[in-house]
């Protein structure tokens, strides 16, 4: 049990700090959010530029093998990097899905040639990747997907629709899971590909969220052709590849998004209530303490996962817990922080509200956080079944050919 940096970790932390100091602006009491928001068109070049700088400094893919430009470091180094970076104003990363899920899947399932072709551009921010799994009738139940792939010569022809594809509109490449054989039960007849997102026959339609941003897209496939060489895993083995991709997602769960404890603490330091400074109010202190404890609990849980990884264990469902707790905490803090502002708590105008209305903005964004990447209901079931060994849900669709299921 040693929470201190090892000498190697300390050296790396110093390296990261030096890099950040030289290349980014630190957060301040009044500036805590990067000024260019995710949805805006200006953001993309800024994000690419920041990615390029990190890549040049050797600060991307820290845990990857050296042959792919990585440094073969334990996962904890990524945590150190994230910790330090969180003190700076940097563009929203549009590379997380690619580097966290798609490229690791490529590393396991693609050919050497393909890896050589794709890893570098992804690392340097030259190519952006997205992930095409969910469908309108296959949300939590991903394996209920219907998008069809049919072999035609050396190609596969894709028809169907994906949804919730983060960043599809600016992505260059994507990973895709399809149904190649509907006569098999639902988990069996799936096949997995990567594909060029600029292929003919792809139509991308942004989905407007409550917060008015459009991170997600619907992606329509009409006779889109994918060379068989871009298949990952065997025909019919798509579920296995998809599960491996999702497993990588578990590692990608980071610190909770703002507003977190620090934002609320900051707000309360500024705010004068009817009976004195907000920070003197016993109710507010109680809430702050609850959220601090939750936040630290999740932080240290991540560290425990990192330690387990460094001992060669596979990541368990801990990230399910992080998601449940962080998402609910975020929504609760956003509500509490907004309501502390009384009637101005309904204003999202950044110029008219303390902390640039981060609480009100987050209030509109928070419902999505509780759903994206798995609803908390599904995640509780995962914890109950996989961690605690509780009986599985009664399944009525398990061994039936998919095509018959669809008729039910």
């Amino acid at each position: 049990m040693d929470f201190s940096d090892t000498p190697e970790e300390a050296a790396f932390r110093a390296e990261v700090r030096a890099f950040l100091e030289a290349n980014a602006e630190p957060k301040s009491e009044t500036r805590t959010v990067y000024p260019v928001s995710y949805g805006s068109l200006d953001m993309l070049p800024l994000a690419r530029e920041w990615q390029r700088k990190k890549a040049e400094a050797g600060l991307v893919g820290l845990s990857w093998p050296k042959q792919y430009g990585g440094r073969a470091l334990p996962q904890i180094y990524q945590v150190i990097f994230d910790q330090e970076q969180s003190n700076y104003l940097v563009p929203h990363s549009v590379f997380d899905i690619g580097l966290g899920m798609c490229i690791p899947t490529m590393m396991t399932f693609a050919t050497e040639e393909q890896k050589t072709r794709f890893v570098g551009p992804a690392v340097r921010g030259e190519e952006i990747w997205c992930q095409l799994f969910s469908e309108p009738a296959a949300g939590s139940d991903v394996a209920a997907l219907q998008t069809r792939s049919v072999k035609d010569g050396d190609d596969w022809v894709i028809n169907g629709q994906k949804i919730w594809t983060s960043g599809a509109h600016f992505s260059d490449w994507g990973v895709l899971v399809t149904r190649s054989d509907p006569s098999l039960p639902k988990h069996k007849g799936l096949t997995f590909f990567f594909l060029n997102m600029k292929s003919p026959g792809i139509t991308i339609k942004p989905i407007r969220q409550i917060s008015d941003s459009s991170n997600f897209n619907e992606v329509f496939f009409t006779d889109v052709r994918i060379p068989d060489a871009q298949r990952l895993g065997a025909v019919g083995d798509g579920w296995k590849v998809a599960v491996a991709t999702l497993m990588n997602e578990r590692l990608a769960v980071g610190e909770s998004r703002e507003p977190n404890f620090a934002d609320l603490f900051r707000l309360c330091r500024q705010l004068e209530l009817e009976d004195g400074p907000a920070l003197r109010n016993a109710l507010i202190r109680d809430k702050l303490a609850d959220w601090y404890v939750q936040q630290q609990g999740m932080r240290f849980t991540r560290f425990r996962t990192m330690t387990a990884l460094s001992r060669g264990q596979t990541p368990g469902p801990e990230s399910s817990m992080l998601k449940i707790v962080n998402a609910n905490k975020r929504q609760a803090i956003a509500r509490f922080g907004s309501e502390l502002l009384e009637m101005t708590g309904s204003l999202v105008d950044p110029g008219l509200s303390p902390l640039k209305a981060v609480m009100q903005q987050a209030l509109l964004d928070a419902p999505g956080t509780r759903i994206g990447g798995g609803t908390e209901e599904i995640l509780r079931t995962v914890i109950a079944e996989r961690v605690l060994g509780m009986p599985a849900e009664i399944r009525v669709d398990k061994d039936i050919p998919f095509k018959d299921l669809a008729k039910q």
Partner: protein, 369 residues
């Protein structure tokens, strides 16, 4: 004791629901949210139903019904997230005049409010602080108002505002100021619920008229107590609709081969929504009775109604989204309308935190007496 609406009131509810389902669709709310201007046709149609004048005595052009009837209408308006300044005009501005204006003023001003030809709003808040006798900085010099109110809801469509100000002797007074005059600057601001306009309103020596009947902070408190009861019915209407949407979707959506409504995680979540709503409803009924018949009970009853309605609407609207999953947080579905409105109404008359504090204060005083 009779703790339910009368048959006539149930009939009023049915009428209102039929009317609103036809004229006040989610599409209209969405349009307004998306920047469409105030829908004056809808407002006029509502006015033609006579609703704005429900609790206005007949001598001032109203229907002379009770506040309990107005609660019925409030619930139905809340149910369809009506994008109209009803609460600003028919609760706050109207009641301010009923309670604080003199006879001449009532006669002059109420008929226009009752028939909907004039829209009023209420300008109280001046920023992040919970409004109180201490925080009011807007001044009234006997003829003109100076100061900034933020936010003023429905200032985009209101003709006048009842403004809470401090007179030259430092007393809290209510004034009526036209909003369409050069000395009033109205700057629209974005809110979590743009289906109701929000603005920063600056009075720069704007001519205004004192409400000549009553003054003092206690008038404001009684006014807000009454509005809290009415708004609690709007909240319950919205929460109830959220619950129904969640139920309907959960019966239709399938996952892992079953209706998602067959999973206990969903069933029990919906049961909890129902419990929160029924708790709020029971408290709101008592609030309605106190508003109409029990002024001594009003401060406690209004606080209880508001606190539980805020909680129920928050819970029902957020868990309705959650029950819908991915589609719930998009503009394709109407869940977001309710979540937005819940957030707005939770702070519109002061946050639950403030009301809880007031509730305990009132109970302390009662206990000390």
């Amino acid at each position: 004791m009779n703790f339910d609406f009368s048959d006539e009131q149930q009939e009023l509810r049915s009428q209102a629901r039929r009317f609103l389902e036809k004229h006040c669709t989610p599409a209209k709310v969405n349009a307004r949210l998306d920047g469409a201007p105030f829908d004056r046709t809808l407002w006029q149609a509502i006015a033609d139903m006579g609703w704005m004048g429900t609790a206005i005595p007949e001598e001032y052009g109203g229907l002379g019904l009770s506040y309990i009837d107005l609660c019925v209408i409030a619930e139905e308006l809340g149910r369809c997230v009506a994008p109209v300044p009803f609460s600003s005009s028919a609760y706050l501005a109207t009641n301010a005049i009923l309670q604080a204006a003199d006879e001449r003023q009532k006669t002059a001003w109420l008929p226009g409010l009752a028939d909907g030809s004039v829209i009023g709003t209420f300008a109280l808040s001046e920023g992040t602080a919970a409004p109180s006798a201490k925080t009011i900085g807007t001044t009234f010099d006997g003829k003109t108002l100076s100061g900034t109110k933020l936010p003023v809801i429905d200032a985009d469509c209101a003709d006048f505002a009842i403004v809470v100000a401090r007179d030259s002797q430092g007393r809290i007074v209510l004034c009526r100021a036209d909003l369409r005059q050069p000395a009033v600057a109205i700057e629209a601001v974005d809110s979590v619920d743009d289906s109701r306009g929000h603005a920063k309103v600056t009075f720069n020596r704007a001519p205004a008229e004192l409400l000549a009947g009553q003054t003092g902070w206690s008038v404001i408190e009684t006014l807000i107590d009454g509005a809290a009861v009415l708004v609690s019915f709007e909240q319950i209407g919205g929460a109830q609709r959220s619950l129904e949407m969640a139920r309907d979707y959960s019966l239709q959506r399938r996952s892992f081969g079953r209706q998602i409504g067959s999973y206990q995680a969903i069933k029990h979540k919906l049961a909890d929504m129902w419990i929160a709503i029924e708790t709020a409803r029971s408290n709101a009924y008592y609030g309605a009775w106190a508003l109409q018949n029990g002024p001594a009970e009003l401060p406690v009853a209004a606080a209880a109604a508001r606190i539980s309605a805020c909680e129920a609407y928050w819970f029902a609207s957020k868990e309705n989204i959650q029950t819908h999953g991915g589609v719930g947080f998009t503009w394709e579905f109407d869940c977001h309308l309710y979540y937005r409105r819940a957030a707005l109404l939770a702070v519109m008359l002061g946050s639950p935190r403030i009301w809880k504090d007031r509730l305990i204060q009132t109970l302390e005083q009662r206990n000390a007496a």
